[in-house]
Symmetry: C2
Subunit: 300 residues, 2 copies
């Protein structure tokens, strides 16, 4: 094992970035009420309900998606003044500022309506993340590691978790918007606990022997629902793809069904692995799913 990196001293657990993703909202509330659940010896923990007004309204957001407001330039732009743009500035002051943050590690809790199970999303590269991925996968084999880290420099990443020096997303589904499922809540709690344990072991140089390589998926691109020239949706996710997040889609396999019954094949040239299949929140932008490749995370 190589030399110890900087110790993690401050951790923030964030729920309710989206006001209708109930697991994170309830888990943040529980941790606030029972701080001993997140207490560890080597770091301090704060919790935050990020978008209380959207939760009050039982909506994802009031004016714009809070989890798209954290680009460095946007945080510095005084003309971005709507509710979520304002919340982003407040949260950046509270947990950041981005690039020189008082929070060493942010755990941002999210739900999806897609059948993704417990998914750990890494939005930045680095050795700490690789160790974390290996630890979480070892402790929770049902977890899927998702990398979305090398498309943007951190300052251009719009996600809340990029405000911290380190940050990850815990994404668990399937759970309809505005519903709380016990199984999903328990998976989110379990993954969060593993992350906290990892940080404690990392800080105290007590990490167990970890696997040398960890399977992960890496985000390639998103694809849209079939639309006509007027921008109206004319089809839907094919039922053979529905609920089969992470399962391979081969070139030529049916991926959409048009409302007239026509099957539309996947037109890519490589097998891909879908995530966020038919996610409710992505209909705004007519996104059907994300496509990923399989990769290996190699530990030094």
């Amino acid at each position: 094992m190589t030399a110890q990196l900087t110790k993690i001293s401050t951790v923030a657990i964030v729920g309710g970035v989206h006001g209708n993703e109930f697991s994170g909202i309830y888990l943040e509330r529980r941790y606030r009420a029972e701080p001993e659940l997140v207490k560890r010896s080597s770091f301090s923990v704060t919790t935050l309900l990020a978008n209380p007004q959207a939760h009050q309204a039982n909506k994802r957001y009031l004016h714009s998606d809070l989890n798209r407001q954290f680009k460095t330039a946007d945080l510095a732009n005084p003309d971005l003044t709507n509710y979520e743009q304002s919340r982003a500035k407040v949260i950046n002051a509270q947990l950041g500022p981005k690039g020189a943050a008082k929070t060493d590690f942010i755990i941002d809790l999210h739900n999806t309506t897609s059948n993704m199970g417990p998914c750990l999303i890494l939005t930045q590269p680095g050795r700490l993340y690789n160790l974390l991925a290996a630890y979480v996968k070892m402790k929770m084999p049902s977890a899927v590691i998702s990398r979305d880290e090398d498309h943007f420099a951190a300052e251009d990443h719009a996600l809340l978790c990029t405000v911290g020096t380190y940050g990850v997303i815990v994404e668990v589904g399937p759970q309809p918007q505005s519903v709380l499922r016990q199984d999903v809540l328990e998976q989110m709690h379990e993954m969060t606990q593993h992350i906290l344990d990892f940080i404690e072991l990392y800080n105290t140089d007590q990490l167990p022997v970890l696997p040398k390589r960890v399977e992960a998926i890496r985000y390639l691109r998103s694809i849209k629902l079939p639309m006509n020239a007027a921008g109206e949706r004319i089809g839907m996710v094919h039922k053979n793809v529905q609920d089969r997040d992470y399962q391979p889609i081969a070139p030529g396999a049916p991926i959409f069904t048009l409302f007239d019954g026509t099957e539309v094949p996947y037109d890519g040239s490589e097998t891909v692995y879908p995530t966020f299949i038919n996610e409710a929140a992505y209909y705004d932008n007519n996104l059907a799913m994300s496509l990923n490749e399989k990769v290996w995370i190699e530990l030094e």
Copy 2:
């Protein structure tokens, strides 16, 4: 078979009573675009998108639940003026008026986030409904027949489908709000087609031999999520109950889990059969599920 009842001459297929239940909205749109799909020889069919502004806003409703606005007294009350109360009056004029309707049969298309599969809900009693239940169950064995018919006189029933001389609800799930699933859409289409076929066969006195009795469930009451004295939710549906709509819950079986981990047993004295388990739209009223008994529909 006893003497023929009055023939059904006018049928209305209604989608989008709730603006974020996408299957009915898309199916109504498809039937409007391809009227040959719903055309039969013995009756005329109209279709209606009931709450276009709620669909535009991607919400269940703007001001109040449209499917609770159709009590005869409320329809006549000029002081009830919000958007859905106004829509109810317009729809009553268009398809009704309730009690003397120009529409003989209303098919109202709905989705639930609960794992209910294709469910035919009968909100009024009578021989026509019994024949319909037997026909649909024979043609579509996966269908569940739900009776909610003898709690209210028709004039006190607040549902849209009670505006017609006859009316039923086609309720299909699980489908998250604001999502379109192909499997759910196909089940809704299939059940609607069976209902139209039934009316045609009934009108032309060509009904096949039907089973003498049909299993159904009958609504008893709804139960609430666990709450504290301040009215805050302190627990959730137990994971052993989640997704198990129609499966028996015996006295003493766990039915809720409190956020502190305590399991809460079902405190009734009879085995019951749940529906609408953890339905997203019912959180407004803190409803956890509906409880039903098993009954038999006996054909004369």
